[in-house]
Symmetry: C5
Amino acid sequence: MNSGTEKEKNRRITKNSSIKSGMKPGSLVHVGVPVKEGVRISLVKYNELDYTEEPVSVIGESLTEPYDGVRWIKVEGINDTAAVERLGELFNVNPFVQEDILNTNSRPKLDEYEEYIYILVKSLAFEKEKIVLHGEQVSIVLGNDFVMSFCESDTHMFEPVVRRIKAPKSLMRKRGCDYLAYALVDSIVDNYFQVLENIEDNLDELEDELISKPKQGTLRSIYGLKKELILLRKSVWPLREVLNLMQSGDSEFIEKATEMYLRDVYDHVIQVIDTTQLFVDIVTGMLDTYLSSVNNRMSEVMKVLTIFSTIFIPVTFLAGVYGMNFAYMPELNQRWAYPLFWTIVLAVISTMLIVFKKRNWF
Amino acid sequence: MNSGTEKEKNRRITKNSSIKSGMKPGSLVHVGVPVKEGVRISLVKYNELDYTEEPVSVIGESLTEPYDGVRWIKVEGINDTAAVERLGELFNVNPFVQEDILNTNSRPKLDEYEEYIYILVKSLAFEKEKIVLHGEQVSIVLGNDFVMSFCESDTHMFEPVVRRIKAPKSLMRKRGCDYLAYALVDSIVDNYFQVLENIEDNLDELEDELISKPKQGTLRSIYGLKKELILLRKSVWPLREVLNLMQSGDSEFIEKATEMYLRDVYDHVIQVIDTTQLFVDIVTGMLDTYLSSVNNRMSEVMKVLTIFSTIFIPVTFLAGVYGMNFAYMPELNQRWAYPLFWTIVLAVISTMLIVFKKRNWF
Amino acid sequence: MNSGTEKEKNRRITKNSSIKSGMKPGSLVHVGVPVKEGVRISLVKYNELDYTEEPVSVIGESLTEPYDGVRWIKVEGINDTAAVERLGELFNVNPFVQEDILNTNSRPKLDEYEEYIYILVKSLAFEKEKIVLHGEQVSIVLGNDFVMSFCESDTHMFEPVVRRIKAPKSLMRKRGCDYLAYALVDSIVDNYFQVLENIEDNLDELEDELISKPKQGTLRSIYGLKKELILLRKSVWPLREVLNLMQSGDSEFIEKATEMYLRDVYDHVIQVIDTTQLFVDIVTGMLDTYLSSVNNRMSEVMKVLTIFSTIFIPVTFLAGVYGMNFAYMPELNQRWAYPLFWTIVLAVISTMLIVFKKRNWF
Amino acid sequence: MNSGTEKEKNRRITKNSSIKSGMKPGSLVHVGVPVKEGVRISLVKYNELDYTEEPVSVIGESLTEPYDGVRWIKVEGINDTAAVERLGELFNVNPFVQEDILNTNSRPKLDEYEEYIYILVKSLAFEKEKIVLHGEQVSIVLGNDFVMSFCESDTHMFEPVVRRIKAPKSLMRKRGCDYLAYALVDSIVDNYFQVLENIEDNLDELEDELISKPKQGTLRSIYGLKKELILLRKSVWPLREVLNLMQSGDSEFIEKATEMYLRDVYDHVIQVIDTTQLFVDIVTGMLDTYLSSVNNRMSEVMKVLTIFSTIFIPVTFLAGVYGMNFAYMPELNQRWAYPLFWTIVLAVISTMLIVFKKRNWF
Amino acid sequence: MNSGTEKEKNRRITKNSSIKSGMKPGSLVHVGVPVKEGVRISLVKYNELDYTEEPVSVIGESLTEPYDGVRWIKVEGINDTAAVERLGELFNVNPFVQEDILNTNSRPKLDEYEEYIYILVKSLAFEKEKIVLHGEQVSIVLGNDFVMSFCESDTHMFEPVVRRIKAPKSLMRKRGCDYLAYALVDSIVDNYFQVLENIEDNLDELEDELISKPKQGTLRSIYGLKKELILLRKSVWPLREVLNLMQSGDSEFIEKATEMYLRDVYDHVIQVIDTTQLFVDIVTGMLDTYLSSVNNRMSEVMKVLTIFSTIFIPVTFLAGVYGMNFAYMPELNQRWAYPLFWTIVLAVISTMLIVFKKRNWF
């Protein structure tokens, strides 16, 4: 296994996906950037009356103790393969799902198993300055009486959801596991709008730059932005199907009452996809504008050069002629020759200018 | 909630959509440009015999009083979140619908609920001079015995519909709530044709400009128009599905008799989509024409430059040679030298011209 | 109603479509180019034994008199709104259909009603010289024992069909109304092939022009042709669905025996669509060829300029040097200086030529 | 009927298709290139034990005599309309099918009738030198106990199939009419691979030419090839549907056992379509490569010109200055002036060269 | 049969596919690169307790001996047509399948027969240095109690699978033939990720090269990569359908338990297709960047040329004027003339520079 080479760290798209090539399927390998800090696992339990959150240090039977309410096993950081494996055993999770949780290069999807639904989504963030889209994989396992969530790193991504659970009268406290799963997906999708806004700001800046004073890097930035938009589209597109499956009403893990909420998230995903496509179209338009303005300016430059050259080349030739040292050049000694020379020069120049004017060259 | 910043006001596409990111779903936040004047709410009641319209100052039980006919609650301006919330409570409208009404960045759609249908469409206007498409969101809630309409601002958009209701013998007076909803959607779709006509005028003007005398801004205007057309397509496209759902005959809120009318609106929407696509194709063609004409002209300019340069550069060199001051240049003293020089010059020039003529350079 | 303005007459695509914006749906407004001559209406009656054709001056009950055979009400020119309205009343035709008949900007379609089928198609003609596609709307109302046809103007479009009806032994005389409707649609679709042939002739001419001697207008003509092809595609595309519906065998107005004929027309429409798409591809290819040949020629011109300039610029400089008037220029007085000068010049020129030859510049 | 004009013979795409415009549908007109030699019709009869092939001179009842095996009426050349008509009568073939057989401009298709299936395919050949795709229409009528095949001309296209029938132990002899129809279609589809190979050879040659020494005609050849590929795609694409229908197992004319063979042909057709699309993509790539290399070379040429010009223009000016004849130019008489002049010239030239080197201009 | 010509060996896409054109379908011809070493056939037998692997020298009845477990006939190298034929006979394999096994130019597919499933996939490898994609065809015949695999050459492709079988406690040993088939397909698909990684490395290198110092060959490499990506897409795309069919649960040869594994492979294939498309988009973007940077640089070069020319051309003319030898040029004798000349020159130059500065030319 020759992973961890320098080359590999630069790959953004196919990163590590082939690491298990040739191994037995379903075998657990932790595929991900090695994070220094350990995995942080918490067990959140709540029902209408009660709420507790405790860190989990030993993964054992205590996690599967029945509870009259929702049990949420929140895993942040997935570089502890053994932990994922043990959680998988405890909750009877298929090895393939475990593999998907660890392989951070999967595609958003929803797989339905007998005892749970497995949902894989991408949490995204956009770095305005560098024009780079960062993706983090989030796995959600929705069982009958538990939810497990796995984030790639320790980012407190679900803080807002936790806060809502803490509020004693919030809707969350009254609803089941499916609502929690919905809330997690919803919080991720809501973040996409933040990404889109950042991109739009970036777009606007670049558009301004393009019009006022295009710098060396402007073109490169626009192409960079287009590339990130293509990546964004790739990350969000499959989510459409995921949410379609969730709200379709066929699953026993999702209550009728939650479907309405999922429809709302579905609408948001469609909107994100639409807007991404729109941005791609706009960026393409910007590039076209830029290229044609470069072409236009080149055409202008050419005209200036041509006007100057065609005006002065003939008269320079004439000056050269009368600079010649032939012994017998009768004109040279005529009094009227020099004024005539200037007359000819002015005539040539003004004729040229009239011709160019007629051709709309300036 | 960091809305209202300067940056944000410039965003046209993702405006405010992420404002509720992290809040509980369905929570009501008024998302929209803060309008100075208050919300204007009217209650229109009518049946075959009767018609009344009264402004509503207090939103209370009086609105839900049963009436033998159509009750239309017309809301113009949606910056009073509390008003929308109270109306929602009175008519038992889902919080998600309330959220959609207030979030002016949604996509056209039709959602069917148990007690009503929710229809979201975009009313559009095109400003010819600035080449900008303005969109305003219109929400329609169609219940069994009432219709609620929400416009973004106080634009008297539905004046023509009101006028038709006032006419005692109009068809409107004989029909139910579904017909009113149809009439509202129809009046919005009819306006799209006005938008298309304005765009076509703009297209024609730009095409003329392009052919006669392309100005600096012509290219920019064409690209701007293309961008607006993409936005227009994005706004109208989902309407196709909305009207398809309406006329499909599955809903209990829409009578058989109204479906025929909806089919007509559906046809119009298809036509708008078709024409928009056609315009996009035409604008693309215009850009291509422009770019190739720029290329063509550059090629012409290059030819002029090359003709002049290649004709005069050799003879100027020759003049330079005989301007040299070498002590021993036998030609200089020959009587025939100067006439010979001119003969050579003329020979060179005419040879060049013949060559260029043959190559079709002028 | 602000129709008839100068602006509007130039619009080819959205012409008049918004005229009824804000009116009650189904209201009758004659939307069309005002034709000077009145509407020409004829009543054609025929069965296996009999054939009569008479002009109709007064639209009255006589038109609906039962007849053992086919009654064809042929309307040429639709600028008499009242006539269309009265015919509509007599044959119980829906106001929407009446509106569609008059609004000459509709999309080809087939609408099935209880008592008749409404078919809307576009008759097309291509003006080779101006490269313009003319479209005329034809409406056909197919009832159980009558057919009504509405042409936009007085063009004797259906002459061939009439001639076939007149022939006592023709198949037409033996068949019913559905066969007549088929024959009308078929005669229109057959005309499309004429349009395609004209376009191909035009394409061939332009292709020849492009290769031999591209004129100023050639490029513009090609772009114009492309635009007309896009319009053609838009007009023919929906016909596919119309004929699919007609031959699907679900309608009670169309006999089993006629379906076979409709399948044939369907095949023709598919062929027209295919060929149109092919032409669009070919025109696009022509434009690409042209642009790359312009680019190529510019590259050639540049080379000529560069060859001349780089050859003569250094030697001209040298000539300039020895034209200087410095008091102490020892070379000037050497006998070998002048021949050496020419040697250097020839050396520079031949070196240059060899370099350019190696780079394949000529 | 103004067919046969000179113009028309040049049309490759819409050739003759509108000839029957305005005639009664199903009327028989021979549409095709008038071939001098007459039609060649043979009657092939075979079963497991027996095989006979005889030329048919008179089309009469003898052709329909029952035979315990397969009767194959092989028609080569279709310019004898009467023959096709008589065959149609004898075998009860629909006039539309007869029309399709004669109109050589139809689209590949499969039409199922009560007593037979009608299959229309295109036999293709590619002329490498001229880069032209030739198409010939082949019609197959598959009945319960007979097969009729119609080729456009006398090309011995089905020689291989005949040879297989002659072999007494071949599979053909054991199978029925459907297998013969399959064998005919298969032999045509197999020929497509020949076409593709020729095209690939052509592609490879053009690619080599493009890299080594692009000639004037190279670009034109590539565009020509692209056009032929588009035509090829148009001819093969509908075949997909034809074979899908044949192997779908719904027809009573095709035995279960033959479907497996048809699936094989279907696979081949898909492969041909795939490869054609691939070729289109590759040709497009070649064109892009070419255009960018032209652009690149132009950029190189520009650089050479600019380097020479910018180096010599300033020093030529300087030489000009000291060639002036002003009475008072103090420098002229200084001893150090001429060496200084050369120093300045060399300084200017080397500075320029360093600047251009830094900018990576050479 | 004119195969084996020199020409043919260069064809990468249509290689040999037409070889059987005109032969009887299903006839066995070995189509493939003639490999020197013979075919290597092994018989692997295993069940939960037992494992044996033995080379097969004679293809005979011994291969079909019943065995309580999985029999895997592993064929490496397919240039022994007779061997394939004999294996086909022994296992009752359809001649078409035999043909597909030998024709190395087929498309990935899954064909279901009564006694087995035939699966055809492409094993791929990417040669980074030459930017070439190598494909090898792999055929898998999955019967009820046997699996046959055919590789094009002797590449030990399935080593990892063999190793897993050898491990006594591996899952493989407990499962049936369908699991083995799955494992073979999975090992091939896993290899695709290696290909994608190599391509991404290549992409990254080319991108770096493009930014830092684009060489002559960079552009050609990018186009080459794009072509290989198109080929890759063509090879992988049909696999989607293959796996969809396999996991659809309709086949009797695939157990319910294996479907889960196939779903995993299906996910991988989708991911490969997605990533390939993404790479195509990125390469296209790179080409666009390159072309626009070439354009940009040309524009810069033009500016430099124009600045120099327009500055020096007028003053060189002036110098030429006062280099003339007219007898009467009053200025020449004025003391102030020479300093005035320089003043004019400096004025012209600085005016020019200011103008260019204003136009943002440098």
